[in-house]
């Protein structure tokens, strides 16, 4: 049963986005084989996307019916955009996702070891924030330790082939990385 809780910042936009995506998926599913038969390749995608459209409509209906969030006593209500960036997508999230994306894009280029080492160091330094110059050293040592443990478990024990990185392809480090 639905819970009548106040609408969260950006929830209506999300519900609309789900409906739009579902309709687009249904259209694409229809394009596979249309209504040419009941056992064609497009039938099941149409059933799945049809269920998405119906449930997205229900979700939108419930979201519209949900009461708006009230401002705390004595405070003026903030615009929804500001609430969205404060409650749902704060800067910490934006920067962390950007950092993860950079890391994942850098893996084929830098390789797993160097890329992960840099990512862990930057992420520890940014999120953990151990104070002062010693803090950076602690982050560095911690990331080196974690990387060593991951390398040992995955590369040595499980023999997982990790990306070597195109940058080191013709260097002496190739075999190690």
């Amino acid at each position: 049963m639905s819970v009548r809780r106040p609408r969260r910042a950006g929830e209506l936009i999300f519900a609309l986005a789900l409906l739009t995506f579902s309709l687009a998926a249904f259209w694409q599913a229809y394009g596979i084989s249309g209504f040419s038969g009941l056992s064609t390749a497009g039938v099941f995608p149409m059933l799945a996307s049809g269920a998405m459209v119906l449930s997205a409509l229900c979700i939108l209906w419930h979201t519209l019916a949900a009461p708006r969030a009230r401002a705390e006593a004595g405070q003026t209500p903030r615009p929804e955009v500001l609430r969205f960036f404060a409650e749902v997508l704060p800067w910490r999230h934006v920067l962390t996702v950007a950092l993860i994306l950079t890391y994942l894009l850098a893996i084929p280029w830098l390789g797993f070891l160097v890329g992960s080492g840099l990512f862990l160091f930057v992420a520890f330094a940014y999120l953990w924030r151990p104070g002062g110059k010693r803090g950076l050293l602690v982050s560095l040592l911690l990331s080196a330790f974690c990387l060593g443990a991951i390398y040992l478990v995955f590369r040595i024990v499980f023999q997982v082939v990790l990306p070597q990185g195109s940058l080191w392809r013709d260097t002496l480090f190739r075999g190690f990385l």
Binding site: A41, V43, P45, S55, C58, V97, F119, A123, F124, I150
Partner: protein
């Protein structure tokens, strides 16, 4: 009888096999527990080393990994709210709230004992009822598998926090993701947009790790400054009174787990969810409400998913049909070792069947030992600051996703699913149904179409078969009951009847 006993105890008496089973179980527990590493992946990788081994050595290691891996998923479900495998989704619903209350040690202790109990029930069923149960499973038609898939997804939908519609949406989204790629029957492209990468489909591991690993890491960013709860691990061995109290439920859940595990294509994930639902329905006055750390909700799925291991071996060894993804990998290994899993296996090499049964018993004993002794070290993970844990989860998730097919594109999928999963979680969706949809979608599609082709494309005949066959009728009635009980239709019908 003497021959059976001799085969049964080979691995108990041979130090090498004993060591391999123990090492496999320990490895399975930790691999199953590491976010992003699935037991399927561990078996796939480790099995490749065993191809040149004697068959008994290979089977000993595999049995340990399988048994340990299914259990290991529950640890991260309890400690981090990241199920190590889909079969631990229901465990996270109750185990994580218990850990947040500082009862992680008790939750893991109870989980271990009930997993071992479930494991023994599954093995006993494998030994006693293998032929009978496989006879029953073979009667299932395509439409029954289709119905089982729909029921499985809707069951997860009912577990969805805020509304049934959100559960249905998440399940259907998962099915849609599972449809991407070339149609296995006609090779027509579905949602490929002409891209060669998409023609191969979206790997479910990338979706699973993205939705569970990355999305959870992003959610956890909100509580970065909140110190992790110091876990109470003083009491690991559960109270006898607790064990006694939940033994009846564990036995029923193990029965469900064994039966579901024995059905081809359905494994520990559906078994755990059905058992969780059974616990919810059968527990009238729980001490703690479901979803807030209810022990009944922890006991049932854990007993069921380990019971499903024994169950999954039944169709594998007697029919040559994999019970789940792991047994599919094991079947491949058995063929490489020159064995023919199927009805003739029990006739030609009965010692192998009993050796496997004995091995599973041994792995289960090791599970109890390792499960109850390694918790203190393991719980230290959650005492680690989240600012350290979150980047590590991201790196482990990237390795886990990459390792499946060594394809960098999969890690971009993982991040994409992680971001979508974060928004879904923020707005009250559960991501469990998505993953189940991805896994069950292709199976449901294939079985629906087989059933429709069997009915010669006649919709009337197709629907008639759902009520004409006793097994299909029971499943159909169960599905209708579920739909009625979860939607406003029930209230409307009751009002109409009373009015």
């Amino acid at each position: 009888m003497a021959e059976i006993l001799a085969s049964l105890t080979i691995s108990w008496l041979d130090p090498r096999l004993l060591l391999l089973t123990g090492a496999g179980t320990l490895a399975g527990i930790y691999v199953g527990a590491i976010p992003g590493l699935s037991v399927t992946m561990a078996v796939s990788i480790l099995i490749s080393f065993t191809f040149k081994w004697p068959v008994n050595d290979a089977l000993a290691l595999i049995a340990g990994i399988f048994m340990g891996g299914v259990y290991g998923g529950s640890r991260t479900a309890i400690l981090l709210n990241i199920p190590g495998a889909p079969s631990a989704i229901a465990t996270a619903l109750e185990g994580y709230p218990m850990a947040k209350r500082g009862e992680a040690g008790e939750a893991i202790g109870l989980t271990t004992v009930m997993s071992v109990f479930g494991g023994f029930v599954g093995i006993l069923a494998l030994a006693l009822f293998a032929p009978a149960l496989s006879d029953f499973a073979i009667k299932f038609q395509s439409r029954d598998y289709f119905l089982l898939g729909v029921i499985g997804i809707l069951l997860v939908g009912t577990l969805s926090g805020e509304s049934f519609a959100k559960g249905v949406f998440a399940g259907a989204l998962g099915v849609l993701i599972g449809m991407v790629g070339l149609d296995p029957m006609t090779a027509e492209g579905r949602f490929t947009f002409g891209s060669i990468t998409l023609m191969g489909g979206i790997p479910y591991v990338a979706a699973m790790i993205g939705f569970f690993g990355v999305a959870e890491a992003l959610v956890q960013l909100h509580s970065l400054d909140v110190k992790a709860i110091r876990q109470k691990v003083e009491r690991i061995v559960p109270r006898w009174a607790d064990v006694k109290r939940y033994l009846g439920l564990a036995l029923r859940a193990s029965g469900i787990g064994t039966l579901i595990g024995a059905l081809p294509g359905t494994g520990g994930d559906i078994a755990a969810l059905l058992a969780y639902d059974h616990a919810r329905q059968s527990t009238k006055n729980p001490e703690v409400p479901f979803g807030e750390g209810c022990k009944e909700g922890l006991v049932a799925p854990e007993a069921a998913n380990n019971a499903a291991v024994g169950g999954a071996f039944i169709p594998m060894l007697t029919l040559g049909i994999p019970g789940d993804a792991v047994t599919a990998v094991i079947i491949g290994a058995l063929f490489i070792h020159g064995l023919k899993p199927g009805p003739l296996l029990l006739v030609e090499t009965p010692h192998l069947f009993w050796f496997t049964v004995g091995n599973l018993v041994l792995a289960n004993i090791f599970l109890l030992i390792f499960g109850l002794t390694g918790i203190r070290i393991f719980t230290k993970i959650v005492e680690c600051p989240k600012a350290i844990l979150i980047p590590l989860i991201v790196v482990l998730s990237a390795v886990g996703t990459y390792a499946i097919q060594n394809n960098p594109v999969h890690i971009y999928w993982m991040l994409g699913f992680g971001v979508v999963g974060y928004f879904m979680k923020t707005y009250g969706f559960q991501v469990g149904p998505v993953i189940l949809g991805v896994i069950l979608g292709p199976m449901m599609d294939a079985n629906y179409r087989r059933a429709m082709i069997g009915a010669q494309g006649d919709i009337g005949l197709f629907l008639w078969e759902f009520v004409a066959n006793p097994i299909s009728l029971v499943l159909s009635l169960f599905l209708v009951f579920m739909l009625l009980s979860q939607t406003p239709l029930r209230a409307w019908l009751v009002a109409r009847l009373r009015g």
